[in-house]
């Protein structure tokens, strides 16, 4: 199943890239299409943050991951680079679990 998902994602993401370079611009020039396409990454990424940090199975929990996320927010406000944000959050979560 995992390999099927890898293949579907690979083929689909490539075709999505190629489509933009290939279709006549007016097909997607519609204002609404453009607005929704602009907002989809925002909605999906925000939902992924929420689920990744606060869900455990079908439960909502606040644990070390939430403190990791708080650390990420602080690092982002300090304009830290991507890798520092990601591993900084991991470090804080790992540290909290050691306590």
């Amino acid at each position: 199943m995992m390999w099927a998902a890898v293949v579907v994602t690979a083929a689909g993401c490539y075709l999505l890239k190629l489509a933009g370079l290939s279709v006549p611009p007016r097909v997607l020039e519609h204002r609404l299409v453009e607005r929704v396409a602009d907002l989809i990454p925002v909605a999906l990424l925000a939902a992924l943050v929420a689920v990744q940090v606060f869900a455990r199975g079908h439960e909502i929990v606040v644990d070390a991951r939430a403190l990791g996320l708080a650390a990420a927010v602080v690092l982002l406000l300090l304009r830290a680079p991507f890798l520092v944000v990601v591993f900084g959050a991991a470090l804080v979560a790992a540290g909290v679990r050691l306590l």
Partner: protein, 229 residues
């Protein structure tokens, strides 16, 4: 848009800037590699994603949904929805790059956030193509090498929770989201989407809450008049 040739100074400055972006971006393939094997994918699956999918947010989305216990195919669907933004980038770049045939087929693989950003502001076709190709392919090479390193290291480390790698996934998504929160409308959409996702977690299968949150984007698109950037 002109076809004027590039002077050597401009050429080397575009190459230097593009390589800088390439190195900075490619390096975080390490975090993808580590997070992916921590989510239960094999090293081979992880490397296949970086080689073939090659668009960071979609890759993180697929492994994130799988890590949360979702079905691989709902992870794939989330990844594809995130991949739609590359279509919009392509639409804007098409007249600028003006590629056909094999060059278009090859160029499409490295059509991502960063290569678009490094091409879209150029004044001439040659400059746009140079910025796009150097940025895109330097990220491609480094991203794949870094993924392999991260995957092997992640595999050797054992239980990912001990190192807080489960928290790293959320931080990665937040870092990808952060630059998009510059407009109030986007902040409201992000909050509403997170709320919808958490509200549906107890009642629907894993992976579905994230897809449900995409409806927030549709609704906000229908209800607001603010033009896209």
């Amino acid at each position: 848009m002109t076809d004027a040739p590039l002077d050597p100074r401009e050429r080397s400055s575009i190459i230097r800037d593009s390589l800088g972006v390439g190195v900075a971006t490619g390096a975080y393939g390490v975090s993808f590699g580590a997070v992916s094997v921590a989510s239960g994918l094999s090293v081979a699956q992880t490397c296949a994603l970086s080689l073939l999918v090659f668009t960071g947010a979609s890759q993180f989305a697929l492994v994130g949904v799988v890590a949360a216990g979702g079905a691989p195919l709902s992870g794939a669907l989330t990844a594809l929805l995130l991949g739609t933004r590359n279509t919009l980038y392509g639409l804007r770049l098409a007249p600028l790059l003006a590629w056909r045939g094999a060059r278009r087929l090859l160029g499409a693989q490295v059509l991502i956030d960063e290569s678009t950003a490094m091409a879209i502001t150029r004044e001439t076709r040659e400059a746009a193509r140079l910025g796009f190709l150097v940025t895109g392919w330097s990220i491609f090479v480094l991203w794949n090498l870094a993924t392999l390193v991260g995957a092997i290291a992640g595999d050797a480390l054992g239980d990912p929770r001990r190192y807080g790698l489960d928290a790293a996934v959320g931080a990665a998504f937040l870092a990808l989201l952060w630059p998009r929160l510059d407009r109030p409308r986007n902040r409201w959409v992000a909050l509403a989407a997170a709320g919808v996702a958490l509200a549906t977690v107890p009642v629907v299968p894993a992976g579905v809450p994230v897809l449900a949150a995409a409806a927030v984007a549709l609704l906000a698109g229908l209800l607001t008049k603010e033009p896209a950037s």
